[in-house]
């Protein structure tokens, strides 16, 4: 009994501590200026107001950046998942010349920290005049060697006989892929899609460099640059943080099942 009390007690305390920074900033976002600014603010707004939220969305056009983020994240997710699905399947289940070398190349690519590549990437996109275009964010993010490795590992676990049977029935490789392979790896693809979406949504350094034009910025980049200008307005910035965080939390809570599975599958596949 004492053990159970201890377990639930310490877990609850840890959970509250973990959630506190998120809840606190949300609470401040709904406070009026005097409450926010006069010493340490109360935990809860006494006279809740939407003033800050309206301000950050209207005056700072957060909705616009939200849309940019959405376009980039959706396109990245679709492209990256499709490309990785094809490659992961082929590397695991289709025999062809050069397969081993390509697997090694993919593994090598996993080992290169993507953020170390921003200088030449900037130069390349500048050469082809794609700085300030969505493509500058979508294409590099779609080159996702980690996803390929994970799908490859997942597909190796599927008996080759099932695929051979499909091919024997006269299905072409594309048909086999779409009608047999994709349904088989659907849970894995869904999981990776959610993972890719979140990573893309929260990406910061490269989007900040590639989107020099303010109107093309993604949400975190816009939030950081609003922050550089308005850090002294706690209510406004708290509202900005809240508006940025809430959609991701909602998506996570809704897609938890896939998401957590992908995290687990991703690491245990090694």
């Amino acid at each position: 009994m004492a053990v159970r009390t201890f377990l639930y007690g310490s877990l609850s305390i840890l959970a509250i501590l973990t959630l506190f920074p998120l809840l606190w900033v949300t609470s401040i976002a709904f406070m009026r200026s005097p409450e926010q600014s006069a010493g340490t603010p109360p935990l809860w707004p006494r006279h809740p107001t939407l003033h800050n939220i309206v301000n950050i969305i209207q005056r700072e056009m957060l909705g616009h950046y939200f849309l940019n983020s959405l376009i980039v994240a959706v396109a990245t997710t679709v492209l990256s998942t499709f490309v990785a699905g094809l490659a992961g399947y082929a590397l695991a289940q289709v025999r062809f010349r050069g397969r081993r070398i390509i697997s090694w190349i993919v593994l090598f690519a996993v080992l290169i920290p993507s953020q170390a590549l921003v200088l030449p990437l900037f130069e390349m996109f500048r050469e082809v005049h794609l700085i300030n275009h969505y493509a500058a964010l979508i294409l590099p993010a779609a080159a996702n060697p980690v996803s390929i490795v994970l799908i490859q590992a997942y597909m190796r676990g599927i008996p080759a006989e099932i695929l051979d049977a499909a091919r024997m029935d006269g299905a072409g490789e594309w048909q086999t892929f779409f009608y047999v392979v994709v349904p088989m790896m659907a849970p894995m693809l869904a999981a990776l899609a959610v993972l890719t979406f979140v990573v893309s949504w929260n990406d910061f350094m490269w989007p900040m460099i590639a989107m020099q034009k303010a109107s093309m910025q993604t949400l975190p980049v816009a939030l950081a640059s609003i922050d550089r200008e308005h850090y002294q307005e706690i209510g406004l910035m708290a509202a900005g943080a809240t508006v940025t965080i809430l959609p991701m939390m909602a998506i996570f809570v809704a897609s938890q099942r896939y998401y957590l599975r992908s995290v687990v599958a991703g690491s245990l596949a090694d």
Binding site: Y8, L86, A87, L111, L117, F204, A238, F252, V253
Partner: protein
């Protein structure tokens, strides 16, 4: 089954990886051996190959050493702390009734999915010297208020705390899953043989989870090694450059001052040290198995 579909299926991925990973990587390597700067931008006639001069320059650059030290500190303090917290939470969650597990998992995992920029803004206010709740609580229990983001030592600690807070939920999920894979019979036998909770932990749970912990350590190292957004928002690298990470320094040199040669050399150093970590992890893993 041999057909052209294999190469065809791999082609898009391979093209993307070649274009956006391999070629840029060679680009970083090449740039790091040139004098690329604002004058080269003005006229490419000014571009020269200068061999290892940028690396020599960095070797004598106190800011580069400080960035290395800061980043290493965050990794060496942050990774063990993250793993410990992940493990403790995972084991506790797996010991409670299944219907409550989801709730706690969600709570611990939420920071992982939130934008670093947004949560860093929240932490900056929490840690504020005069206003922040953390100092308010310290003062309430008669402890001195601390200048969290204004003192070089405390600022590094604060950044590490934020990084750990943001990251531990990930390992918790994975360790909880791995813990579920351990057959309960092992614990039954141990109990019959009279092993206490601590003995069960040390002789069953930890050894079986060791490979997972090793993998998590590697993932965390790779992630923390690329520290950027936290100091960018929380401290802008200050005070006194104490929270300037390697990537933040690279960003400053490259995109604020247009010193691409030196910035690329920093990127190469960052990459090579990360490889060293990977090699180290593989190495210790095999020696464990042999031992």
């Amino acid at each position: 089954m041999k057909s052209i579909s294999g190469p065809l299926f791999v082609l898009p991925a391979l093209a993307l990886i070649a274009l956006f990973v391999l070629i840029p990587f060679l680009g970083v390597l090449g740039l790091s051996m040139t004098n690329f700067d604002i004058y080269v931008l003005a006229s490419s006639a000014n571009l020269h190959f200068i061999g290892g001069a940028n690396y020599v320059h960095l070797f004598h650059d106190q800011a580069a050493w400080q960035a290395l030290e800061t980043t290493l500190t965050v990794v060496l303090a942050g990774v063990p702390a993250t793993l410990a917290l992940s493990l403790i939470c995972a084991l506790m969650i797996e010991s409670i009734a299944p219907r409550w597990r989801g709730l706690f998992r969600t709570a611990f995992f939420l920071p992982v999915v939130c934008s670093t920029v947004a949560v860093a803004i929240s932490w900056r206010y929490l840690l504020n010297t005069h206003y922040g709740l953390i100092n308010h609580l310290l003062v309430a229990v008669d402890l001195p208020a601390l200048n969290w983001l204004g003192s070089p030592t405390l600022a590094v600690i604060a950044i590490t705390v934020v990084v750990v807070w943001k990251g531990f939920g990930y390992g918790m999920i994975i360790l909880a899953a791995a813990r579920r894979e351990i057959p309960e019979e092992l614990y039954d036998i141990a109990r019959i043989e009279g092993a206490g909770v601590r003995q069960q932990l040390l002789s069953i749970t930890v050894p079986i989870l060791a490979p997972t912990l090793g993998l998590l350590a590697l993932l965390d190292v790779a992630g923390y090694w690329q520290l950027f957004a936290e100091p960018y928002v929380l401290t802008q690298g200050g005070p006194m450059g104490s929270t300037m990470s390697l990537l933040l320094l690279m960003y400053d040199r490259g995109f604020r001052w247009w010193r691409w040669g030196v910035a690329s050399a920093l990127a190469m150093i960052l990459t090579v040290i990360m490889w060293l970590f990977v090699w180290l992890q593989r190495h210790t893993k095999t020696s464990w198995r042999e031992g």
